[in-house]
Amino acid sequence: MTNYLDNVDSDWFSKRLSVGLTVVIAAFVVLIARLLFLQVVKGGELRRLSEINSIRLRSVDAPRGLIYDAHNRIIADNRPSYNLSITVKDANPLERTIEKLSRYAGIDEAQLWESLEKAKGTPVFKPVLLKPDIGRDALAAIEVNRWDLPGIQVNVSPRRDYIFSPSLSHLVGYMGEISVEELKNKIYSDCKSGDFIGKYGIERAREDWLRGKRGGQQVEVNATGQVVRVLNTVDATPGHNIVLSIDQSLQLTAEQLLADKAGAAVAVDPSTGQVLAMASSPEFDQNAFISGMSHDTWNALISDPQHPLENKAIQAEYPPASTYKIIVAAAGLEEGVIDEDTSYFCPGFLRFGNRTYRCWKKWGHGEVNVLKALSESCDVFFYKVGLELGVDRLAWYANAFGLGEPTGVDLDHEADGLIPTAQWKKKRTGVSWQKGETLSVAIGQGFNLVTPLQMAMVVAAIGNGGIRYRPMIVKTIRTADGRTIYESAPEVLGRLPISQSNLWLVREGLFKAVNDRHGTAWRSRLEGMAMSGKTGTAQVAGRRENATGGDSDWGTIKDHAWFVAYAPREDPRIAVSVMIEHGEHGSSAAAPVAAEMIRFYLSGGQPKGDLPVAVAGATVNQGD
């Protein structure tokens, strides 16, 4: 504490402090000079400007990016919407103006006052939205009487228009007004209250690309609020356009086939993972969300027992039923539990422990090898394979096929599905795994749950020779002036853990399921197209309790129908997964839907019964 006193004395400090004071005084001289300049030199001019303060800000909404299908058909468009607003400071006298506006435009006066009341606290020089989306008639009436309506403005802003609504309602989704919670979220930091943002589907998942950047203008207005001069403009930047991999014709076909049913149909391109169609039924009207939905409509939507707002292709989980046998067969072959020649005798049931497990075919399939088991969906064969494999080995294969976890498609809120293991059950229920439960699991019942999209990806991988792709919906993203900024590339998630020879056996079994006279989907075979597939009928015992629940007699106890398929047999161009809730049999309810989608797609969009020979010839040569 003493040595510095020898070096640094108070003189030393004083010198440095006086330099500091000089700098501070110099800075304050600048401040004072500026004050004198503003308040004395420019004072008169600025006083005048403040008296007529006539500079207003107007915001210019950015058009949202458009959404196209794979063939550049517009799915989600923007249309002009005329929004009526008022600048209170310019609307003098306010009562008279509102009264006249109500008369000219035919809008209820109380409604106008209500909007004004809601915007209480807005600075008087800022426009307040009175009514969005007034019709063309009201617009014309207001424009004609503009001189008589001080402070009233109509500005045009883009509004969403879903061309094919309700088609693609789940996949494209809809927009809605931003909520108070969303406004606090960082990703919506450039939004303000009253803005519309994507709430569901692609509109929500790709909000960041679709939303443009708001622009605005600094304008000088006259006494009645009309713009005299534009002082400054910041252009709005339109959002990016999105091209989906969806084939809208195929989509409409799928939706038609699902009409009046509850369920989902997904079609993917097995060679890329691109989603060609994704239908979920029942659908809903997307445009109703844009124009403001009544409480009744909303309540009807959310209380509908068929859950129209749910995207059943990715959010609904069902037991995979017999479609799961594809995986059991592959696992059995790969683990050496069975081979091509292994055959079991099916008497129509299997006795295990003190219970009898039935085959769906009461009188039995007789001698069954893996090909016949797949094509005729013999339960007894797969009971035995399942028992040999055990639940955990089976689960390992199911996971390797992509089940039990989301597929990673570019939509939010995708369900996981469920692939049980012994450990899972112990943890979940506290009860150890019972061997009998393995029997249920082996035929896709029990705890197993999958989504239609997951099953579509499984058959796509079987069809393309074992490559698992990530399903993709967004194909390209382009700027409003057409520059491509994103191009989706197929993303390989992994390979099926199964040798080519074993895979060939499974594929052969699936081919026979459709094209063999005894195959379960024989009735849905396509003339001239080599379709391979697997039916499934999922028991829905769990829903029995709903049966007493009143009028919903649309088969509360009927089984769910599955069909998964791909075509052509070699180098398939399309893989389809169809789930019809309470459709009863996969072969009768789901297979015809899938078959018609495949026929439609492979024939290049031809209506039924009009098959061009060229396409037929191209695909038939590897047939029987």
Partner: protein, 367 residues
């Protein structure tokens, strides 16, 4: 601990000037909260009165102890401050896209305001030990650089660039005051000149845009640029004698953004004219000069550097805030000491004044 003789040395002048500015600030705040309304919203005004009361108590607390106690507890104060800045990033309230507030009962505090004091104390302690006529070497500067960078980064992360910048500027003044060795100084200048373009090169497009707007608000005519135009109109239209109490039209029509916090000087200048605005500016100049003279009369390096730090904080905020509302500086959220609405700002400034008084009172006392 508290000597009655100290009372004779009590700095009445500093207290008087501070309270005068505070009073003018309250008048301006009353105008700001009555803007355009028939019934003025007096809640904010009453809250500010309470904050002033709390501020006076905290100020008294700050000069009761010998300021050397602050030197002893400098590290603890600094660590507590860093802790609260971390807490605000983790649990802070989101307001307008940034996390700056911590809720304490019914009130919200901005730990970033208090962090200024913590940095001043910890740096004063560090420099007091090392100070010598040859100046500090580069190696001496490593620790203070780190001590400044940590709260700077935490505050910039909120994001609150204005306050972060003020902390950097205070630290800069304190370091320059403590003197940097000539060689070290030229090294620093050279590195900075080289680093700036390099950093620019690594920034993303939108970050560059943000910085450009920050430097030149006219690039953003719908946000900052518009506000500056309106603020200049407000100040200029006050002319010599002002429009009169509660008669400011710019203020009444809500043309001014943040009229009770960052733009309160415009409200005052509009209603009280050059008469009022010049008084405020000169009062600030007096307080700053007073602070420097306290630093000069102190016989202990810690007290001197501490006073310089506190005075630098007041000076920077006055220059930045008034410069900003008059269109001389980019728009950054920096409050006007003793005038702007806000508990954290008031309390921080009162702590600063308390520290100055403390140093002033004990200048004759030797250990």
């Amino acid at each position: 601990m508290f000597d009655r003789r100290l009372l004779q040395c009590f700095d009445w002048g500093l207290l008087m000037f501070t309270l005068s500015i505070g009073a003018m600030g309250l008048v301006a705040l009353y105008s700001a909260v009555s803007a355009g309304a028939v019934e003025p919203d007096l809640l904010l005004f009453r809250k500010q009165l309470i904050w002033y009361g709390v501020g006076l108590v905290v100020m008294a607390f700050c000069f009761l102890f010998d300021y050397k106690q602050f030197e002893r507890f400098a590290n603890a104060i600094y660590l507590a401050s860093i802790g609260s800045l971390t807490a605000v990033l983790l649990f802070g309230k989101y307001v307008g896209g940034s996390r700056r507030w911590l809720s304490v009962g019914p009130f919200s505090l901005q730990p970033s305001e208090m962090a200024k004091i913590a940095v001043i104390i910890v740096l004063a302690r560090y420099f007091a030990k090392l100070i010598n006529p040859d100046g500090l070497t580069l190696r001496d500067l490593i620790i203070p650089a780190f001590l400044t960078a940590l709260p700077f980064a935490l505050i910039a992360r909120q994001p609150d660039l204005g306050t972060a910048m003020v902390i950097g500027l205070i630290a800069g003044v304190m370091t320059l005051f403590a003197k940097i060795e000539r060689r070290a100084l030229s090294w620093l200048i050279a590195t900075f000149t080289l680093l700036v373009p390099l950093v620019w090169f690594f920034l993303r497009g939108y970050q560059k845009q943000r910085i450009l707007t920050f430097l030149n608000p006219d690039r953003d005519p719908l946000g900052a640029g518009y506000h500056i135009i309106q603020s200049k109109i407000a100040i200029g239209s006050g002319m010599l004698t002002g429009k009169g109490f509660l008669k400011g039209t710019q203020n009444a029509l809500s043309f001014l953004p943040e009229q009770h916090t960052d733009f309160i000087f415009s409200v005052l200048a509009e209603e009280w004219g050059l008469m009022g605005s010049l008084s405020v500016v000169i009062l600030f100049l007096i307080i700053i000069a007073w602070g420097l003279s306290i630093a000069g009369r102190c016989r202990d390096p810690f007290g001197t550097i501490l006073s310089v730090g506190v005075t630098a904080m007041i000076a920077w905020q006055v220059l930045i805030n008034i410069g900003m509302v008059m269109g001389l500086m980019p728009v950054v959220g920096v409050t006007l000491p003793f005038v702007s609405y806000g508990g954290s700002s008031i309390i921080t400034m009162m702590i600063g004044i308390g520290l100055l008084m403390n140093v002033s009172m004990r200048r004759f006392k030797f250990e």
